[in-house]
Structures are given as structure tokens and as C-alpha cells.
């Protein structure tokens, strides 16, 4: 496979042709924050946290979707990018009701980790405090929309890995919600196989196993990539 050499944050990096900037950076130990990206699922470029500066492009480009090219010069952590990323994380915290103190995922939450990673100390924006429902109609799992960041990782895990597409998105703007089976309560969504891949994929405490208490949620989203990779090897 052809190799490409590029510069990321002043560091010379080699990458496989067809790889994305994100993959090349991670291989080289350069951390680019992400939220909607999950290895094993298709990339959608929705959270905008992984936007990077590429010399020669007037626009910021999503690292998760932009393929590397020879001689490319990438900056992942300019002052502007850091400030914009911090603003995005703050916007997410302001959007719904993220109360770590009562959340099952506290200590094992990608949103929480992101806040630390981007150096967020407080939220400058007005909290929108929407009224969000909690659905615990499913016998094993529940979804608390207060904690959902609309990354759609559950939607893609269900569709692309489990092959079911129980999850999707309804509504638009801040009123968008992930839904099961055309908006039925999860427990009545007959397409759901209760496989739990959505739980694995969820970056926050939005999707949880029932009966889990504060900070007790244990799950490793990397297992999605393991499932995908092991299937490829076998078939």
C-alpha cells in the first residue's frame, strides 16, 4: 500500500494512502478531540470537534473525513481551533441537562473527558434547560435524553453493525431527538434485538443499563471496532 508523508503540528508523519488525517494523527500519538467519531462506524463529521487547519484550504476540514495527501501540512491545535473547540463543548453542555453529579456515566463519559481535554472551566452560554424525557420502557436499557449529545453513534451502531436500524433521528435543530422505531417507546420497538450495541457506542450516560447507579456505568466503546474487525477477519 502506498505511503504518504505529511506534517501534523510540525511533526513529519507517514500514513497509508486513503487514511484520514485523524487516523494518521492518532497513529503518531497526536490527540485530536472527537465525539461523533467511533472506530468501526462510518464517519459523519457532525460534532465538528476534529476540525483542523490544512495549509492551502481556506476552510477548516474535519480530520475524521479528510484523506491524507502527500506533503499535506496540518495544524490541529492552533489557538483559534482550541478556542472554537472549547466553545463547542460549552455549547453542548448548555444544550441539555448534563448533571455529572447524578449521572451513571460520570467518570466514564466522553463529554466529561472532552471538557477536561479542551480546558473548559465553566459554561459562558445560557443553559437551555429543555424538558427531556427518560424512556425506561425497555426491560434492560434506558435512554435519558437529558444526556444525549446527538452524536448518532447509537444510530450508526444499530444500522451498520447490528444491521437493524432501530434508532434514527426525528425533529430538527435543538428539538432533534434520537428515536426508536418511528418514535415508539423503546420497549415497544419490535425491531430492537436488545443487543446493547447502542449502549456500547454511546459516549455519555444517555443510553444506560437499567439498575445502574451514579458513576457505575461500565462500557468500552472500542468494542464496536473489535466486533467489526473480527467479522472482517472471519468472513
Amino acid at each position: 500500500m502506498a505511503a504518504r508523508t505529511l506534517t501534523i503540528d510540525g511533526q513529519l508523519v507517514s500514513a497509508r494512502a486513503g487514511e484520514t488525517i485523524l487516523e494518521a494523527a492518532r497513529d503518531a500519538g497526536i490527540a485530536i478531540p472527537t465525539l461523533c467519531h467511533l472506530e468501526g462506524l462510518s464517519a459523519v463529521g457532525a460534532c465538528r470537534l476534529c476540525l483542523v487547519e490544512v495549509v492551502g484550504s481556506s476552510r477548516l476540514l474535519p480530520a475524521c473525513l479528510t484523506p491524507v495527501s502527500e506533503g499535506m501540512e496540518v495544524r490541529t491545535a492552533s489557538e483559534r481551533l482550541q478556542a472554537n473547540r472549547r466553545a463547542l463543548v460549552e455549547l453542548l453542555f448548555a444544550e441539555r441537562n448534563h448533571v455529572c453529579a447524578v449521572c451513571v456515566a460520570s467518570g466514564n463519559c466522553e463529554l466529561q473527558n472532552l471538557a477536561v481535554q479542551v480546558g473548559m472551566t465553566h459554561v459562558r452560554y445560557a443553559y437551555l434547560t429543555p424538558q427531556c424525557s427518560v424512556d425506561i420502557s425497555h426491560p434492560q436499557f434506558g435512554i435519558d435524553h437529558n444526556r444525549c449529545v446527538l452524536c448518532t453513534r447509537c444510530v450508526r451502531a444499530c444500522d451498520e453493525v447490528e444491521g437493524v436500524h432501530t434508532w434514527d433521528v426525528a425533529g430538527r435543530g435543538v428539538n432533534a431527538r434520537v428515536i426508536t422505531d418511528l418514535g415508539l417507546p423503546w420497549g415497544e420497538a419490535t425491531s430492537c434485538t436488545s443487543c446493547g450495541k447502542c449502549l456500547l457506542a454511546c459516549p455519555t450516560g444517555a443510553i444506560f443499563r437499567r439498575g445502574t447507579s451514579v458513576a457505575e456505568l461500565e462500557r468500552d466503546p472500542r468494542r464496536i471496532a473489535v466486533i467489526v474487525a473480527s467479522r472482517q477477519e472471519r468472513w
Partner: protein, 539 residues
Amino acid sequence: MDLAELNAIAAHERASRKPIRIACCTSLGCYASGAVELQQQLTAGVAATGRAENVEVVGVGCMGFCGHGPLVRIEPEDLLFEHVRPEQAPAIIAALDGGPCDVERGDPRHPFFARQLPIVRRNGGVIDPERIEAYIAAGGYATLYRVLHDVSPAEVIDQITRSGLRGRGGAGYPTGLKWATVAKSPGERKFVVCNGDEGDPGAFMDRSILESDPHLVLEGMAIAAYAVGAHEGYLYVRGEYPLAIQRLTRAISQARRHGLSGSQIFETAFDFKVEVRVGAGAFVCGEETALIASIEGRRGQPRPRPPYPAERGLWGCPTLINNVETFANIVPIIERGADWYASIGTARSKGTKVFALTGKIRNTGLIEVPMGITLREIIEDLGGGTPDGTPVKAVQTGGPSGGCIPASLFDTPVDYESLAAAGSIMGSGGMVVMDAGTNMVEIARFYMAFCMDESCGKCVPCRVGTVQMHHLLDKLVNGQATSEDLVQLEALCQIVREMSLCGLGQSAPNPVLSTLRYFRDEYAALLNAPSAAAPQPTD
């Protein structure tokens, strides 16, 4: 269908015309104010007075003077009547004999008409949009015939490139370049898509074109399909345009019946099948990748580009997407040549542009003017200024992606680059005129509310950023904002513009940025100003 048959239809149509023609506008604006009943009354009146021999009543497309509708024009005398009510039909028929007539008269030589240069709207208000024969009699489909028989696809693309035509949807991408890219993209199956999801507040250019001359768009699409090697096409029209959808659907079935759409058009090997797809009310579906998703039956939300649709579009195939007005320009360009088209307009913006003049303006309606005309000429000469004669304060162009241009810059020529330099965009053609009574911060808040409501919710900066910006604008309008709020608003403008996924989010801050640029004093005046509505301290 061959050329002889086409000519025969045209000849028969022309021969069956009657000496006197009463043309009644049946486009949506006039339609809504009673034009259909008016047309019936006119038809009945002509029959009752025994004039059916030499007088015909024809429903025609948009005449453009929408604010004065319903409109009726009598030819060949070229009499124009405005605000006609159905009960005035007898008076209009009486006017045929030069009798006294108390119906409001319009002036067909008014600058509103005289200063226009109709190219895409040349059949608007002239032909009956519901009859393909009327279009053929006006020269329709002869260009497609000539293209299919005598012009190679490469020559068509060359003509469009040399004409200098740029996308009329707003961004102004060179049309010829787009066509060439799709033509060169490898793939057995390609698509041509017409974007009729016009959604800017105050804009109705595409609706009027589709309602007034649907075959012009269909013929343009067929030529495009021939040029890029596509055999299937979709017309994506917003669901709020029922009359346009009805006329398009009718036009497609007429074209199919006449062998002008479908298989072996004009008995050549060229097939082009076209279908209408109706939008379900999302502004973001005007964004090309969201539009593609919507046609495919998926949730209408954009995806990052590249890959561009020219490379990977509808169902993964190379897809040409142009706006309604862009397609409507194709037939005139091929018919009269690239050099003719390139002779109109400015160095980098060729041809004409259709604008919808609305807001605080005397002559509300639709105009088609050459590029390079100044905003002042449009607003003062064609538009007639404000209805009460007070000075115009600003004009908003480009809808929620555009900006407000102050009266001091009204000598700006209308072309893609000049409008962008003034902090706005050409956009699809909406022009909302504002007078001194307009609060520019409220205008910014209105457009932000629009973007907030229309954000699909996929990407974070647009989904949440627009809500936060709207919140800050709300605080400003209510006199509750501090100077820190203004700083935060400007910072958010930058973030949302730089970080958003698609054009909707990237351009959502524009109405705020442009009003801040020209009317910052209005923002400053609202800082901590007690609002009239807010309760006042009593001690």
C-alpha cells in the same frame, strides 16, 4: 416527434389565435386574489357578448407586477389593468371597443417593465403555461431538437462555459465548469437534478418560473442531461408550491406524450426521464447534499463535501444539480449563442438575474434585470421607492445567508463579487427593502430565528450556536443585553461560521455580521436600554 411535426404544432397554434387576446395572469399571487374566477367571468363575458369569434381569454404565467394583481392585459392594444376584481370583467370587455372603463389602468411602459431584460422570463405573462402547444409556438423544443441532431455534448458544455453563466442558486459557481466535471466523472449512470426548493423569506423567483414556463426548465434540463450523459432527472420542488408542482407534473406528461421526454426523444438515441419530487418543508433541503438525501428517501440533512455531487451524488452516481433559474437560462443561451449572453452583464457576472422585490417598496413583484445594474436603479427606478415616499434605509439580499446593504451603498452594481464585498451575497434573488422604521437588530433576530428553526440539528455549532445567538439578539431587542453579550454574539458569529458543516450554518451569522457592520449604533443604543415593554422601577 420530428421537426416537421413540431413545426406543424407551432403553425397550428399560431393559426388558431384570435385577433384580440385578453391575457389574465394565473400565477399564484394573482390566483390567490381571485384570478381564476376573473378568468371565468371574462370567458363567460366574451361568449355572452358574442365576441368569441375574434376574442380569446387566455390564462398566462406571471407578469411580474405581483403587488398590483390580479393583472389583465389586452393585446394587441397593449392595455394593462390592475387590481381587477371578477365583477369588473364586463367593464374590461367594454373597453375592447374603447368604451369608458373604471378599472385601474397600469402603464406597460412604466420603468418597472421598460427597464427589464426578460430572458428566462420571456414567456412569463405571455404564454399559457398549461399548454405545451403554446410553448412550442413560442419556439419551444426547437433548441433541444437542434442540440440532439447537430451539436455534440462537448460543444454544448463549451457554449455554456463561454456564456459565463454562473449558478443562480446563490453561490455563483460557474455552470459550464460544473457540467464539464459531471461529464468527465466516470460512471454508467448519471443524474440531473433541478433544485426548486427555494426557501429564502421573500423570494419567489423560481416559483414564478416554474408556474409560468415549466417547459423552459424541462428543456434546459434535457439539454443538460444530453451534455453530461445523464438519462434520468429529478425536479425537487418544495411542497409549499402546489401550483408549480401541478403545472410541472402536467408539463412532464405533455412532454412525454409528445415524445419530448422519456425514451428516444426526437427519435434519437437520447433518453431522458424526469420526475418531480416534492419537499416536505425543510429549508435545509435546498442544500445540495441534503436535497440528494431527501430524494433518496432519507432524512434531509447535509453531509460534508467533498465528495461533491458531481463526483458522488444521487445513489452514489455523478449528479448535476442546478437551480431552476440556471436551467431556465440554458435554452436562450444555446438558441442565441454564448457570445450574445456574454455581452450582457459585467466582466465576471454575465446575463440577467431575476429578483423578487418585497418589503417597503411601492412596486412589489418580480423583475429580471441585467447584471451590473445598481441597487439604486432597482429600488428607485423599477421599485419606485417606499410606498409613502420616505427614504429607503437598507435592502436585504440573499435571504438568511445574505446581509443588509445600507442606502449609502446603493450605487453598488448587482454582481456576485460586488455584493459579496458589501457583506451580502447575490443569493437566489430575494430583495427585501426596509425603510427608516425598521429596527435592524430585530431584522437580525428574525433571520436568526429562521436559521435556528431550520437547522437540521446534525452539527453542533449550527444546532446550538444559532439558538445562543438568537437568545443574545433577543436580549438586545428587549434592552437586557450588556456589552459582554455583544462581544459574545460576535464571537459566536465567528465560531458558527467557521465550524458549521453546511452552508446554512456557515452563513447563518451573515445577517448579524452585516447589520453590525453598517448599523452598529443601533446595537449600541440597545445595550442596557430599558425596553418599553419591560417593567420600569417605580421608586
